[in-house]
Symmetry: C2
Subunit: 223 residues, 2 copies
DNA sequence: ATTCTGTATGTTGTATACAATATTCTTTAA
DNA sequence: TTAAAGAATATTGTATACAACATACAGAAT
């Protein structure tokens, strides 16, 4: 009966296709902060009607990637220095919390995955490709976050991460930061493997602290 | 020139009117978990077209109050025991964080407001009206949360609070819990006024712990 | 030159129409 | 009686039309 079970769940509403397209464009910087998003133009460009474009833009607004003024349309969200600090402050608290929970809840299988992810991150650093480094960095942290088993926590952190993705990538491109990044990952890995939640939490906090300093100094050199 | 400055910013898109209407209906239990939300019916009931109803439903989905299946419509979100625990786990961490931050950042003016809110909560308990108690309870916590000055933190916590609003109200109606609630508020107030962040954080955590125990035992009496 | 006003244009907000898919009910066959 | 199939209905997804408002620009009055 299920020999040829081609997946019938592959349907994606157009609004979601548009949403993912625009989201990627924003996160990769193709659409720059402050740029206006006009429904008709985007609809024509993407070959759909205004309706799915509207719905996608609204979704992006609720995710915080787009800001809207009633009757004046939408634009790619600008993040202020204060906004960035606010996001990072919440992330620091939640990342530390994740690290502490991970000490209690991580499974042996996930421990192996985490070790592997740590190794692969270091290899990526050796290779030196920023995109690869960013990918492996995300993978490492995702294992920790997912090991908490708390879906609400996971989605909350992912939303925060999305807010600063654009700026974080600049941070990763700065090669001088990478040895420190590696060191911090190792400390965090070691603390989690030893179920030392105090040290794990502290390591996670320091990790974000350094990110914050670096990102802020790049975006707001005077501040 | 500004003698007669009638407010021109009063315009609210219909989608937001519908959104607030539906949101309130869900939070107050008029629309019950699992109930289907059908665009045409709601549109007719509210005297608008499908478009603003659709947009309002999508907004509710992103806020987590509604779940959608593509091409099958939306229904009021059901929260599972796991989902409730997950929300409360994140809230506990963030509420504790807020309490700690409040110790550092609360202004003298906010301190007075907090004292007043604490008193008013106790008066509400004496009067015994659940709705009033709930309102004063929210007001007390809002002062603490707002005193952090971190907008992202504020909106994140408010979203979490919204998820459990329906169940929390049942908790407040349980009169046997109220003396404990008052005691916990006093402890939290005292810790913040004395800038004792460790104690404030601990008090916030205990506060949520008790909520969790009480809410869970009411919704899932066997669990 | 500057400010105000009116008009033309562009954009969003809402309503509606049509298409595609889900659901329900009836009918038919075993 | 039950199960399956098919038609009828309901509902969502998308496109388009129209109205309301915002913006930009040109011209007139000061």
């Amino acid at each position: 009966m299920t020999e040829l079970s081609l997946n019938m769940d592959e349907y994606l509403p157009l609004r979601d296709v548009v949403f993912h397209t625009l989201r990627r464009a924003i996160l990769t910087g193709q659409l720059k902060p402050g740029e206006r998003l006009m429904e008709i133009h985007l609809a024509q460009k993407l070959g759909v009607s205004r309706t799915p474009v509207r719905e996608a833009i609204h979704k992006l607004e609720l995710e915080g990637l787009v800001t809207m003024m009633p009757r004046r349309g939408a634009q790619v969200a600008q993040i202020s220095e204060k906004g960035l600090k606010d996001v990072l402050e919440v992330r620091r608290a939640l990342d530390a919390f994740c690290a502490e929970l991970a000490c209690e809840r991580i499974t042996p299988k996930e421990e192996e995955e985490l070790k592997k992810a740590c190794r692969e991150f270091e290899e990526a650093v050796k290779i030196g490709d920023p995109t690869l480094i960013a990918t492996k960095d995300v993978a490492f942290h995702d294992i920790i976050i997912n090991s908490t088993g708390n879906e609400r926590l996971i989605s909350t952190i992912n939303n925060l991460a999305e807010q600063i993705y654009r700026y974080r990538f600049e941070y990763i491109k700065d090669a001088s930061q990478r040895p420190r990044l590696m060191e911090e990952h190792r400390t965090l890995l070691d603390a989690i493997l030893n179920k030392d939640s105090a040290r794990a939490g502290k390591a996670a906090r320091i990790h974000i602290d350094n990110q914050e300093i670096s990102i802020l100094s790049q975006i707001y050199p005077e501040g």
